[in-house]
Structure formats: structure tokens, C-alpha cells
């Protein structure tokens, strides 16, 4: 059941969406597993294969079981960490909304079930930003290694402050006051999102964005970020969210389109749905297609974006690499900055980043050890 237009580079996506069977050979299994690990999707692969009753060879079986063990542990830790975050913020009376993975987890959404969690993304009112930072610092989360330049860059131009890292547990919080940079081509009012946030049942005051906003935020986040390390994972999150919300609310798709218009996020919505349908098959109700058609960019730009995102959404794995990928990833990186700020800010910033990368002060990679 290999769809005709499916490229080998998209094999992982095809298997994860049930559109292709895993390769039959041992080497094929090894390559599939390796791509899944690289894309932080090994536990999801395990879940998908289990759900579709596919027999897995022993050398792949134990690795998938291991990935599931690790994912469950991370999810348990994340749930605990969320409680601590809530405690720190609530004791100072700061209201907050969970974003992305932590929101899926708190709300018990299917998107959280086999997800590899990373940072904790929080949204607070801009006026509460300082209070939230202080409260989190009281809980042990501090700015560990942002240079003075990074501090200024984040605080003046970004929609979030530099990441806060817990001094003993190492968990990382991204604290946002809106979902796109204030200088961005998208103008989204964080207050509007907060006004529509919903409490999570039985969670002692945790809040998440309303379904349409949750989906739109995850789309904006995916398509304005310069690094697509988790591109495929985030796209599959969206697939889970769309199917889940549609199942529970027949009016969801109409509400989503309407909300995208209000927030000015039609373009990211178009990109997300285009690539979702390319990889996972028909998702959008047919009656809404004409409306969605209106959201697509004009032609040369559309082709360019389709190519760039096709590359970005693949695992960064040698087996998926094709000629021109390096250029595409570089263009995505430049584009992410282009979307974030006007040229007069962008050029000096990129020059500086290039300089720091060429002559690094320190490096994040592990040292080899026994």
C-alpha cells in the first residue's frame, strides 16, 4: 500500500501515518528505527506498530521497547515538573497557560501518548512577565547561560525571554508573552489568546489554549522556527490534535478557519494542512477546500515554500538526504529570522550569530566518556 507519490525519504512519515508498511529486510528495519530515533519519534513508532499489529523482528523489538520505557519515564517526570511549575507560579499569584507538549500532556490529549517531551512552554500576560520570571526563579529556574547579547536580543525583540533552566533538575522553561515575536510579519495579540484559554479538568488550575488556538499556535511555532529538529514530530502532533478535536466537535474545522482569519494565521494553517495531507492523506473536510485554497501563497513563492518545508519535515538523517537539502535548511533558517524581524534588525543579528558560531565561546556537545 505504498502511495505513488511517496518518496523513500518520507518512509518514516508514511509508516507513522499507516500509509506504508515497514520495510521487510533487517537493514530496512534498522534504517527505519534510526530515522525514528533521530526525529525523536521512536516511541511513537513503537505505538504505531503495536496498534497496527505489525510483527517486529527481535533486534528492532527490544530497541522499541527501550524507547517506550524511556518515553514513559520522561512523561512521568514532565507531569511532576508541571506540578512544581504550577506551585512556583501559583504561590506568587501569576496566571499562566501551558503550550505545546506540556499542554497536550496536561489536557490528556492523544498527541501526548507517545510523545518525546522537551522544554516546558508557558504563556503569561506581558504585564506578568517579570513576576513570572521572579516566581520561577524562586522555584529554582534561572537564566543559566544566555550572553548579555542574547539577553538583550530576547528581551527586546522576542516573544519569549531566554530559556530558564532548573539549577538541579535541568528542566528548561520557555516563558512567552505571546506566540510570535512582536516584530514579526504575523501580529498575534497574546492577550486575545489568554482571554480564551480554558481550565483543564481535575488539574488544580492548569490552563491550556482553546482547541483552535492550540492548533494554530502549534502551527505557527512549527513554521516560523528556524530549526526543524522536531519538525515531523510536531506535524504529527497537529495531525493528532486535528483528528481529536474534529471527533469531539463537528464545528471544529469551521471554527479553526474562522479563528485563523481573525488572528491572521491563514498562511501557517495552509502550510501545515498542505504537508499533513501530503504525508498523512486527506484530513481536511472537502467542503472547506475552496476556502483553504484562498490561503495559499502566490505561485513562485508557493513552490519554494513547498520544497523548503518538504525538506524541513524530514528526519535529519543521511538516509533522507537529497541534493539541495543543505541549501533548503539554510533558507529555512534565514526565513525564520526574516519572519521574526525587519531587515535592519535581521542583518546585524545574523552576522553576529555567524561570528559566534565560527568562533564559539563554548559548546553544548558531550565529551566522550567510558
Amino acid at each position: 500500500m505504498q502511495p505513488r507519490d511517496m518518496r523513500p525519504a518520507d518512509l518514516l512519515a508514511a509508516v507513522l501515518t499507516g500509509r506504508a508498511s515497514p520495510p521487510a529486510s533487517d537493514d530496512g528495519w534498522l534504517a527505519l528505527l534510526s530515522q525514528a530515533r533521530r526525529a525523536n519519534l521512536a516511541a511513537r513508532l513503537a505505538q504505531q506498530l503495536h496498534a497496527s499489529g505489525i510483527t517486529v523482528p527481535p533486534q528492532t523489538r527490544w530497541q522499541l521497547d527501550g524507547a517506550v520505557k524511556a518515553q514513559r519515564h520522561l512523561a512521568r517526570l514532565m507531569a511532576l515538573e508541571l506540578r512544581r511549575v504550577a506551585q512556583a507560579l501559583r504561590s506568587d499569584g501569576v496566571g499562566f497557560v501551558l503550550l505545546k507538549g506540556t499542554a497536550y500532556l496536561a489536557a490528556g490529549l492523544p498527541a501526548a501518548s507517545a510523545r518525546q517531551f522537551g522544554d516546558i512552554d508557558l504563556l503569561v500576560r506581558q504585564a506578568d512577565l517579570a513576576a513570572a520570571e521572579a516566581a520561577l526563579m524562586g522555584g529554582g529556574w534561572v537564566n543559566l547561560d544566555a550572553s548579555p547579547y542574547d539577553q538583550r536580543y530576547y528581551r527586546e525583540w522576542m516573544h519569549e525571554i531566554p530559556p530558564l533552566t532548573h539549577i538541579s533538575r535541568g528542566s528548561v522553561i520557555d516563558l512567552h508573552h505571546t506566540i510570535v515575536p512582536p516584530t514579526s510579519v504575523f501580529r498575534v495579540d497574546g492577550a486575545d489568546l489568554l482571554a480564551h484559554a480554558l481550565p483543564v479538568a481535575d488539574s488544580q488550575g492548569l490552563q491550556v489554549l482553546q482547541p483552535t488556538d492550540m492548533v494554530l499556535h502549534s502551527m505557527v511555532h512549527l513554521f516560523t522556527d528556524g530549526e526543524f529538529d522536531n519538525g515531523l514530530r510536531d506535524l504529527l502532533d497537529l495531525w493528532d490534535l486535528l483528528r481529536h478535536f474534529n471527533q469531539h466537535d463537528a464545528g471544529f474545522w469551521d471554527a479553526l478557519l474562522a479563528r485563523a482569519q481573525v488572528l491572521g494565521l491563514g498562511r501557517p494553517l495552509h502550510h501545515a494542512l498542505h504537508h499533513l495531507e501530503r504525508l498523512a492523506g486527506p484530513t481536511v473536510p472537502d467542503r472547506l477546500r475552496p476556502q483553504l485554497q484562498l490561503l495559499q501563497p502566490p505561485l513562485p513563492a508557493r513552490w519554494l515554500m513547498q520544497w523548503l518545508l518538504r525538506v524541513g519535515l524530514r528526519p535529519q538523517h543521511p538516509a533522507c538526504r537529497q541534493p539541495g537539502d543543505g541549501l533548503a535548511r539554510w533558507l529555512l533558517y534565514v526565513r525564520s529570522h526574516w519572519l521574526r524581524m525587519p531587515l535592519r534588525l535581521l542583518l546585524p543579528h545574523l552576522l553576529r550569530k555567524a561570528w559566534v558560531q565560527r568562533f564559539p565561546v563554548k559548546d553544548g556537545k558531550e565529551q566522550a566518556a567510558a
Binding site: 533487517d26 537493514d27 534498522l30 534510526s34 530515522q35 530515533r37 533521530r38 523482528p57 527481535p58 533486534q59 527490544w62 530497541q63 521497547d65 527501550g66 520505557k69 524511556a70 514513559r72 519515564h73 528526519p315 535529519q316 538523517h317 543521511p318 538516509a319 559548546d363 556537545k365 558531550e366 565529551q367 566522550a368 566518556a369 567510558a370
Partner: protein, 303 residues
């Protein structure tokens, strides 16, 4: 059947060399001559596998940045298409491969509770030696390997989460700095690799697994003794019982993946320690140390 030297070097450079070590099969690729030379010395007696055998880990010790291929050449561990560690000088390529294989096992093989400890056995009763670097654990492990104890692993104690059996990994013992000379003198009959100088841990050299130990790679052992060795210059040999309660916590702290195992991991460690006698061991002279462990195996500690 053993891997022949020239074909090993060729496989490492092209399609990859298959190595089975304990329960794991690696496919190794590397253009570095140092990897091939040490491989031929240290893995000559490991079983060679058909190219079509199923593989667990695909590892590469590749060149670093292209512009450094001819000037201050580097070795870089690549796994799942990404560089896992910082690149090292090309001369460290084989040591990097050994570290890389340990990393693959300890970060993925959660069907085992993996404790950072040397493990040997006598009649399938396992002796676990957990200890921080510099405590003389590997030196002791190498000496015991050539004194009637069967080597299971000098770094990774693989406790099967299903039944608590400890599985041999059968990888070369890693010796550092002064212990290189000590072990060469103690066991001149042993097979050694080349000395890698000036790594992050100083000089490193590996000692091959004796052939008769390799033949028992399918033979697991059950934990019987947990001994915390400490080398102390000039010290008298001293084996002293220590309370078992602390050993559970201590093994958990020394395990790579205790946290992933949940409650089952804690229960497993309790079971392991339940069946063990625990000791602190201080030594400076290897022959006396060996005698102490022989007494332990004959159930006459302190005799």
C-alpha cells in the same frame, strides 16, 4: 571462525564490519587505520558474522570536518546520522570506538538494568565491582581475568530485567595510565592493543578477552558478591564486610538506566543485593588481592 586481519580492515572501510559482543551486534565503519589495527589485535577471536546477520547498532568512527582530513585529522563518532561526542584526534579513534559502543548499549538497552561496574564470575556466581574511576577497578578486573575468574565485562554489568541473570558482554578491558604497566607485568600472556596517549583519561590501552571466556559468552551468571575496591599505595590487603542496605542505593546511583525501569528496577536491585555478600576492599599488591578473592570464592573470606 575468526575475522582475518586484511578483510577486517577492508570491511571497516567499505560496507562495515559486523561484530557480535555479548547480546549485541554492531556494524562498524571507519576509515581510520588505528581502528583496524586495534580491532585485529583485540577482536581477532570474536565470532565473525555473515554480512546479512541482523544488526543492533550501526556505528561510524568517521573523519571529522573535511578540511581537517589532511591536517590534524580527527575521529568523530556518528550514530543515527549525527555526531554524538566532540571529535577527538585521529590517534584516539579506537578508544573512541570503545566508548561509542559502551554509549550505544548504556543509552538504549533498557531490557537490562545496566550498572557501571566490572563483573566477573566463578562457576557462574558473579562478582560485581562497582567503583569510581581511579579506584583500580579495571586493574583488578584484568588481573582476576587471568587468575581463574571469567570476565563478563569491565564497564557494563548487564542485569536481565526479566530474571536478574547477568550476561557477559565480552569486550576488551580498558586500562589506564599506571595500570597498563602493572597488568602487562602481571599477565604477560595476555593480548593487548596499542597504547593511546593523552586522551581525556590519560593513556589508554585495552586487553583482549581470553578465548576460553569468549566461548562462554552464552553463559549468564547470578550475582553473589558485591565488592567495592579501592587501590591505595602501600596499603595492606583488607576485605571487610559492609552493610547490604546501602548497596541498593549505591547500585542505583551507579546504574545508567535505573530511572527508566520504574518500580521493577528497584525490586530487581533488591533481589540482586539480597543474594549477595557485600564488602569493602582495600589493596595495593595484586597477588594478595587475587588470594583474597580466591578465598571469597571458596567461602573462606579473611582466611
Amino acid at each position: 571462525m575468526a575475522v582475518s586481519a586484511t578483510s577486517a580492515a577492508q570491511s571497516l572501510r567499505s560496507g562495515g564490519l559486523l561484530l557480535q559482543t555479548g547480546p549485541f551486534t554492531f556494524r562498524i565503519r571507519s576509515p581510520h587505520a588505528g581502528v583496524a589495527r586495534n580491532f585485529n589485535l583485540l577482536y581477532a577471536n570474536h565470532a565473525s558474522l555473515a554480512q546479512s546477520a541482523p544488526v543492533d547498532f550501526d556505528v561510524q568512527i568517521s573523519d571529522g570536518a573535511a578540511w581537517r582530513r589532511y591536517w590534524r585529522r580527527q575521529a568523530c563518532f556518528v550514530f543515527d546520522g549525527r555526531a554524538v561526542f566532540e571529535p577527538l584526534p585521529a590517534a584516539h579513534a579506537f578508544a573512541l570506538l570503545e566508548w561509542a559502543m559502551n554509549w550505544c548499549i548504556s543509552t538504549h538497552a533498557h531490557q537490562y538494568l545496566i550498572v557501571h561496574a566490572a563483573v566477573l564470575s566463578r562457576d557462574d556466581r558473579a562478582l560485581i565491582l562497582p567503583a569510581p574511576p581511579g579506584s583500580g577497578k579495571s586493574t583488578l578486573c584484568a588481573a582476576l581475568t587471568h587468575s581463574g575468574w571469567r570476565l563478563l565485562s569491565d564497564e557494563l554489568t548487564l542485569i536481565d530485567m526479566r530474571d536478574g541473570r547477568i550476561w557477559p558482554l565480552c569486550r576488551p578491558v580498558s586500562l589506564k595510565n599506571a595500570s597498563i604497566q602493572v597488568v602487562r607485568q602481571f599477565a604477560p600472556q595476555a593480548v593487548f592493543g596499542e597504547v593511546t596517549r593523552d586522551t581525556a583519561k590519560g593513556d589508554v590501552m585495552h586487553m583482549a578477552v581470553p578465548v576460553e571466556h569468549l566461548r562462554q559468552v552464552q553463559q549468564p551468571a547470578l550475582a553473589r558478591w558485591i565488592v567495592y575496591p579501592r587501590y591505595q599505595a602501600g596499603a595492606d590487603t583488607c576485605l571487610q564486610p559492609r552493610p547490604r542496605a546501602g548497596a541498593v542505593v549505591d547500585l542505583a546511583r551507579n546504574a545508567f538506566n535505573f530511572h527508566f525501569q520504574g518500580d521493577a528496577g528497584f525490586e530487581m536491585l533488591c533481589d540482586v543485593v539480597e543474594g549477595c555478600d557485600c564488602f569493602d576492599f582495600r589493596y595495593s599488591r595484586l597477588p594478595e588481592a587475587i588470594a583474597a578473592f580466591d578465598a571469597l570464592a571458596n567461602d573462606t573470606p579473611g582466611a
